[in-house]
Symmetry: C2
Subunit: 75 residues, 2 copies
């Protein structure tokens, strides 16, 4: 599922940045439990919140989605 | 706004593909008026529908978002 794949990418980026879910959520002004559920792949997150996350990692949307939903991934 | 910038990218990709909104919406199983409103930048579209659109263009999500939300774009 695409939401799961996206969540894995977020976890990867967040770990590279060396920041906790709580601190990252605070940084981007997102509810911590909501952010956690996105990382867990349980949310069909909207574009505006996706952009917030990209901004939080200081990367483009294109970079945020690098490798997401490829490799015979089903939608 | 990110939704407007994303909509412009969709219009660009769809024109490159030489397909109408109606035909593209039909191809990806999306309501035509909903798709039109996404292109117009009026929808905070969710990840699952974004993936449907990428699949419709036969490109990755990373490619779909190429150039979207850059250049001092506000979220």
């Amino acid at each position: 599922m695409i939401t799961v794949d996206f969540g894995k990418r977020l976890k990867e980026l967040r770990r590279e940045a060396g920041i906790s879910q709580e601190k990252f959520a605070l940084k981007i002004g997102m509810d911590r439990t909501y952010y956690a559920s996105v990382e867990a792949g349980r949310r069909n997150i909207g574009l505006e919140n996706i952009k917030k996350i990209a901004d939080g990692f200081e990367i483009s949307l294109s970079e945020l989605f690098k490798g997401v939903g490829v490799c015979n991934e089903k939608k």
